[in-house]
């Protein structure tokens, strides 16, 4: 199982196994084809040689048999003499047997077999063959033998047959040598091909590994990330294109950040616009007070004590206006992102201060239940204010005529803080719950909202490593719950 797993999990092994297997099988088929062909040719050549020799042997044998019929010479002696001479002059003959047409041995290299009757069925059959024939077999006495039988026959007249047993070991040796040669060639070619293949694939895989390691090191946050080592091969081509892709990603990231920043600012400006009436009211009230003080001072300018009191009131009113304007400017200022310790409770008070007029205008009661024990979190203070502004504004907008907004802050055991903003406004229909964080999604009338507030809030929470949840009962209440880590966000 581990081998199968190893193969399945390694592209290198799969390629080597498949291509190596195909090469091995092909080489074996080619080698086997050559082996079979050459083996057949060697055997055929040996058989033809044997039959030629046997035919040459048979001619004087035949003449001796013919002459023996009409002369007084002892044919048997002549044949034995011929057999002996032939064996002396032709190498590799293990035995020679001459049988008559009654399958009785009339001459043999082993004289003890003289006059024996052949009883073996196959031998009897082949002794009647009309043409030379050969067979190869392993014999207990003679070892491997190539036996050739040649008929002693002229046309239809037959005197018998001659069997010559040739030593077949040289034939086997030739085939064995051929096998060893092909084995060595096949082993060398297959082994070296697979070895080279394995080396090349290993090199490619190790280049890919290098690429993966280099890719892992890439940091899109840093514009100064080290470039991958240039190469001239296909991996280099891949690296070059990867570098181009990386550049495009960085560029896209910058564009995205710019766009995000612009959206945040636009949404901030939009919320400022919605605060304008409140701000005007906050400024107007002290101005009326100042005008009243000025009027009384002018009416009795000599009354130094009264003038001093009014001047104090005027100064107080100017300070109030200055405070309001300062808050507004502080909220509206477009600053680059910076992480610093932020007191969420304080940020909530600041935002509520900016929304004071609208809250009172709608007769909304703010119930604050803030945990004094929560630590400052590492965050962008402007984005935190924007996040809280959007959520509280969303709650204010959800309440049509008076209501309650309850705000909780809480420190959790896992070093996080939870900010909960709950209103008893109109609520959010269930089908809209999944869409409210989508950009430009709004149920408000045209001009009342951009549809970006909650989307921007979602982005801010995400960028700070936090999460946001919403639950709502239409017509009863809506609660946004934000969880933020207290440690510094990378």
């Amino acid at each position: 199982m581990s081998v199968i797993h190893a193969i399945r999990s390694s592209l290198k092994l799969q390629i080597v196994l498949i291509i190596g297997g195909v090469i091995t099988v092909l080489m074996m088929i080619i080698s086997l084809g050559i082996l079979v062909q050459w083996r057949s040719l060697i055997i055929q050549q040996q058989e033809e040689n044997a039959q030629s020799i046997a035919t040459a042997f048979s001619i004087p044998v035949l003449d001796a048999l013919i002459f023996g019929e009409h002369t007084r010479i002892i044919t048997g002696d002549l044949l034995e003499s011929h057999i002996n001479n032939f064996r002396k002059n032709v190498e590799g003959i293990k035995y020679i047997s001459i049988v008559n047409d009654s399958q009785r041995i009339i001459a043999h290299s082993d004289l003890s077999l003289y006059n024996e009757l052949i009883t073996d069925e196959t031998t009897v059959r082949v002794s009647r063959s009309e043409s030379p024939m050969s067979s190869i077999f392993e014999d207990n006495q003679y070892g491997w033998v190539l036996e050739t039988v040649v008929p002693l026959q002229i046309a239809g007249k037959r005197w018998g047959a001659a069997f010559i047993g040739f030593d077949a070991e040289p034939t086997r040796k030739k085939i064995r040598d051929l096998f060893y040669l092909l084995f060595a060639v096949t082993f060398f070619v297959t082994g070296s091909t697979i070895g080279v293949l394995y080396y090349l694939i290993d090199k490619i895989m190790s280049s890919l590994n290098d690429l993966v390691h280099e890719v892992d090191k890439i940091d899109l946050e840093s514009d100064n990330a080290p470039a991958l080592q240039p190469r001239k091969d296909e991996i280099g081509f891949l690296i070059r294109h990867f570098e181009l892709m990386k550049e495009r990603l960085v560029q896209s990231k910058h564009q995205l950040e710019n766009a995000q920043r612009q959206i945040y600012q636009a949404e901030k400006l939009a919320s400022i616009g919605r605060l304008a009436s409140g701000v005007a009211h906050e400024v107007n009230n002290p101005l009326n007070g100042i005008r009243f003080c000025m009027y009384n001072i002018q009416r009795d300018i000599s009354n130094r004590e009264q003038t001093e009191q009014y001047l104090l009131l005027i100064n107080e009113g100017i300070n109030h206006i200055e405070s309001v304007v300062k808050k507004l400017l502080g909220y509206a200022r477009q600053q680059s992102r910076s992480y610093e310790p932020v007191d969420i409770n304080k940020a909530l008070h600041t935002v509520l201060g900016l929304l004071d007029y609208r809250i009172k205008q709608k007769k909304i009661t703010i119930n604050l239940n803030l945990d004094d024990q929560i630590d400052k979190i590492q965050a962008d203070p402007n984005l935190m204010q924007e996040m809280l502004m959007n959520l509280i504004l969303n709650s204010v907008d959800a309440i049509e005529h008076s209501g309650n907004i309850t705000i909780h802050t809480l420190k959790t055991g896992d070093n996080k803080i939870v900010i909960s903003i709950k209103d008893d406004g109109i609520g959010i229909p269930k089908e809209n719950l999944k869409k409210i964080f989508d950009p430009f999604f709004t149920t408000k009338e045209t001009g009342q909202g951009t549809g970006l507030g909650l989307s921007v809030t979602y982005g801010i929470v995400e960028s700070h490593g936090g999460s946001i949840q919403v639950s709502s009962i239409p017509g009863e209440e809506t609660e946004f719950s934000i969880t933020l880590p207290m440690e510094e966000v990378a």
């Binding site: 082996l35 002459f67 082949v126 050969s134 067979s135 239809g156 034939t171 096998f179």
Partner: protein, 321 residues
Amino acid sequence: MKLHIPSAMTGYLMKIRNNIIYGLIFILLFLTISIIFYKTTVNIAQPYGDFTERESMYYAPVIDTVYFGVISRYPSNVIYRGYQPIMDYLTKNTDYHFELLLSDSYDETVNQLVSGEAHAAFLGSYIYVQAHDLHGIICILKPLNENQEPFFRSVLITHPRTGIKSIKDLSGKRLALPSQQSFSGNWLPISLLDKNDISIDDLGAVQFFPFHQSVVYEVLRGNFDAGAVKDRVAQEYSDRGIDVFAYSDPIPGSPIVVPRDYDEAIVKAIMNALLAIDPADPEYSALIRDWDPEFAHGFVPAHNEDYNTIRDILRQFGENR
């Protein structure tokens, strides 16, 4: 002390170990397959293939055997090679099994006919005349030559080194001749010598040999300056460097004969089979390719009168002598 191996080194060693394992697996598989193939390859045993056994009629004849005599004009092995195919043809095309009956001399063949040992025989033209006159032997067929004529010729041969161009040049030369009982090898050349005003005493030497081939070999060896053989034999050795410098008149071909008390059925069977041969027919031309050239052009019926030419020559020769 514990040896600390860096993780990169461990990975490298693991890789080497894996590579060795893969290599060993490859070698093991390769060897296993190779051993299987090796055993099959070196086992070269193979039985005798399919073959044709001799037909039963040759191997164990169960029908009447006709023995066919042949005069010893050629060595026995030559006779078997040239005449046995004719026996095979007759066996195949008649209801009899034919076997050659060789002899050591011309007379022995005649005796075999007379004694009934032979049912038919190939005789020479000269000995036929004698056998007919003495024993009533009857000729039934005679062979055609390559021009489809029922004749043959005797020829005088020599080797170019002798410088013999004509019969007149034979004076003082050594002459080799075949059997004294053969027409072509004996009487005819001598009668030719008479016609050319050369007596046998003018010759350096005259010797008889049992076979026509022996005459050719003696001339080729240089033991004799000239010799007389049948044209068919001279033709057979034409590429061995012999020159033919004289031809006899056409002589009726060597007949196939039967004894006086012949078996009509056998004669009829022989004649029907042999007269059916048409050398122009591809079927027969392939069949008779291995026959003795003297009989490879077909046969015609023979009659005793056809051989009167020989009788005339003999009579003339006898008168001259």
